[in-house]
Symmetry: C2
Subunit: 198 residues, 2 copies
């Protein structure tokens, strides 16, 4: 019995997500979102609340997107899955692809100075997505110390995102990816948890 909204929430979140991904949190102004989406400031504020909350909704949406991708790529987790994942990370992208700016979550870690508890939790959950698929993949190939190695892989991944963010070019992470892949191949043969002879 009232006027319906003139825009679709999910669709708008996608658009806003690209803006935050491309320009970062503080450079993406509320008024800028207005002109990009065509939705007035007042409607945005009515629907999502203040900027923090809109951003949080965007992060949740981003995490959902990545989660679905990971479910596909790691449907049967294995070292090969990880290899494919790292090769995809450093694959080329055109000028419109927001992947040129790395990872929205990693960018947020650095840009938002005093993150809300909700933002911190969102990032932790995001990190755990990778932790889980990496660990399961390593376990399925009987690699020793899967938790520690999963943390290492997350580190290498975030380093790759840093490199991409610096150069605005995913292919600049190829050296990192290639050595990660080489290391994964070595791990395949690591039945006893110690290093080969020097």
């Amino acid at each position: 019995m009232a006027r319906p909204r003139s825009f679709d929430e999910q669709e708008l979140l996608e658009t806003v997500m690209k803006a935050f991904w491309r320009r970062g949190y503080s450079a993406t102004t509320y008024r800028g979102i207005e002109s990009i989406t065509g939705v007035g400031i007042r409607s945005l504020a009515n629907t999502f609340g203040e900027k923090d909350e809109l951003f949080l909704a965007v992060l949740a949406s981003y995490r959902g997107r990545v989660s679905r991708n990971l479910d596909l790529m790691f449907e049967s987790p294995s070292i090969d899955s990880i290899v494919r994942f790292f090769e995809r990370i450093s694959s080329p992208s055109d000028a419109e692809d927001p992947r040129r700016n790395g990872c929205l979550m990693v960018n947020t870690v650095f840009e938002v100075d005093k993150p809300t508890a909700a933002v911190t939790q969102e990032i932790a959950q995001y990190r755990d997505l990778f932790r889980r698929v990496f660990r399961e993949s390593l376990e399925s190939d009987q690699v020793p110390d899967p938790e520690i190695r999963a943390d290492f892989l997350i580190g290498a991944l975030w380093g790759a995102f840093s490199q991409i963010r610096l150069t605005r070019d995913p292919t600049s992470a190829k050296p990192i990816s290639s050595i990660v892949v080489e290391t994964l191949e070595i791990w395949r043969g690591l039945v006893p948890p110690r290093r080969p002879a020097a």
Copy 2:
């Protein structure tokens, strides 16, 4: 024949550096610097110019500091030097230590949205510091593909800094460091440039 400055430039740059390191670029306001250092805004502007230029001076100072440290640690470059370096990165720090916030340069890569050409160049030079010592270290132990592996190590390092920045605790990078060290030990035995048998 004129009034001398009431503060020491280098000393002030050190103080300001810690502020930028701790709180980031935009959260460190010109007025905040005034109250931290006791030096008036007008004097700061007279001496260093606008905020960009002050920040650039801080970055240069930071790079000089790191460069001197690296010269010491890699005086005779070797794999052992890299191992010691990664172990130091993830060593504990007290609450006052700005190392809790990771690396000022990496933070800058993410925080400053449209970096000046001068800032970009500063970051590139900083990155080359590590590139060089890593490469020389790998070469001295005859590890194959030293350039690519140096890039990988920079990636792992930046991933470690990301992790530290996320948790505000250097020891959270220990898993990353430990696997990097393990990988370095493996590289020692890599005389032919290919992987061991699976």
